[in-house]
């Protein structure tokens, strides 16, 4: 069937502001939006610019605003989007570099700010550190994050205040805060108790809805909030 793709285009070398352009492409129901973008780029307009790599939802390159929601272009099928018109725009709230490509530097800076790495300065045993399956399960959900920024850029709190550390960074802090092998939970909780930390979460759930990995992000954020409360209690 024919699908109309309406893409928000912007080339800083030519355009003063973003504008929508419409493309007609042939699409089957199992095609992903990424397939359609490729069809446009390869058969109609080579200047169309977007990031993509793995093409099956694990590298996190091609998050974008599709029909008003943040999705991975490689993981959302035409048939899941209903109608014959699909709108595509860059992730909201991040500076647009060109077409569907946004500047990710600030996003990664926030990720780095929560110390997203295991801290354990003790002497490592000869073999693995033991961890029960139960303790491993505690942070399983937040290990799935692929840093695609779909969550952070779907958050009205982040749109309002780009200083907010954002869901993705909190998810990655959560992954270590609740890892029994880690010794720096206190520091991370202190970082996230900042005015631009977890308190800016207003339980809006856009992040949870947007996550292509199905991470229960709002739950993770609230678990961190609760840990901060308990630490002070």
């Amino acid at each position: 069937m024919q699908v109309e793709l309406r893409i928000l285009r912007y080339d800083p070398e030519r355009d003063r502001r973003p504008h929508e352009e419409s493309y007609r492409v042939e699409a089957g129901p199992m095609d992903r939006v990424l397939d359609l973008l490729h069809r446009v780029k390869y058969e109609q307009d080579g200047t169309l610019t977007f990031r993509r790599s793995c093409g099956h939802g694990i590298c996190g390159s091609d998050a974008m605003l599709i029909n008003g929601r943040n999705r991975l272009a490689c993981k959302i099928r035409v048939d899941q989007l209903g109608g014959k018109r699909i709108t595509v725009a860059p992730l909201p709230g991040l500076p647009v570099m060109k077409d569907l490509v946004v500047d990710m530097e600030a996003f990664f800076a926030k990720f780095r700010s929560v110390q997203p790495f295991l801290v354990n300065e003790g002497v490592a045993p000869v073999r693995e550190r033991r961890q029960s399956a139960h303790d491993r399960e505690r942070f399983d959900d937040t290990t799935k994050c692929i840093l695609c920024a779909a969550c952070t850029s779907s958050c009205p709190s982040f749109w309002a205040q780009p200083a907010y550390v954002g869901p993705a960074a909190i998810v990655n802090a959560h992954r270590f805060i609740f890892d029994t092998r880690d010794d720096a939970a206190e520091e991370r909780l202190e970082i996230l108790a900042d005015k631009d930390g977890v308190w800016r979460c207003r339980t809006i759930f856009n992040c949870t809805d947007a996550c292509p990995r199905g991470i229960h992000i709002t739950q993770a954020i609230l678990e961190v909030s609760r840990a901060i409360v308990e630490r002070h209690a």
């Binding site: 700010s113 520091e187 202190e190 970082i191 900042d194 930390g197 308190w199």
Partner: protein
């Protein structure tokens, strides 16, 4: 404790204020669930504005208990409403405007709280 985190970021300072606000928003919210909804029910369901007058108010405030309850409600609501507005202001403004509006909110909260307290505290008890 080092002032620079391992990630090379300056350690945030004075973070317990936001935590306290967050926590108190929830506590006052619970308090208001009882007092404000109760107040609304009394003035609109059990009674009606058409039969209320100064005497009706005075009669209700004839008991110390009712005055205390209403003053507690005033306390909760001042905190909850103005700190709630602070959240909104902090979301959508920045820089000098944010500072000015925040200060205005704090000042407004003081005025409202003082005014309300004055009424609750000074209105004469009706003559028995």
């Amino acid at each position: 404790m080092p002032t620079i985190t391992r990630a090379g970021r300056a350690r945030p300072q004075g973070s317990s204020f936001e935590l306290a606000v967050w926590y108190l928003m929830r506590l006052t919210g619970l308090g208001l669930f009882v007092t404000a909804l109760g107040h609304f029910l009394i003035t609109h369901l059990l009674s009606d504005p058409s039969i209320q007058d100064v005497a009706w108010v005075s009669e209700r405030w004839g008991s110390i208990a009712w005055r205390t309850v209403d003053w507690l409600m005033l306390t909760f609501v001042t905190f909850h409403a103005f700190m709630g507005m602070r959240v909104v202001v902090h979301d959508y403004t920045r820089g000098a405007l944010k500072t000015v509006l925040t200060m205005a909110l704090y000042l407004g909260a003081l005025v409202i709280f003082a005014l309300g307290t004055m009424v609750v505290a000074t209105l004469p008890f009706p003559v028995a």
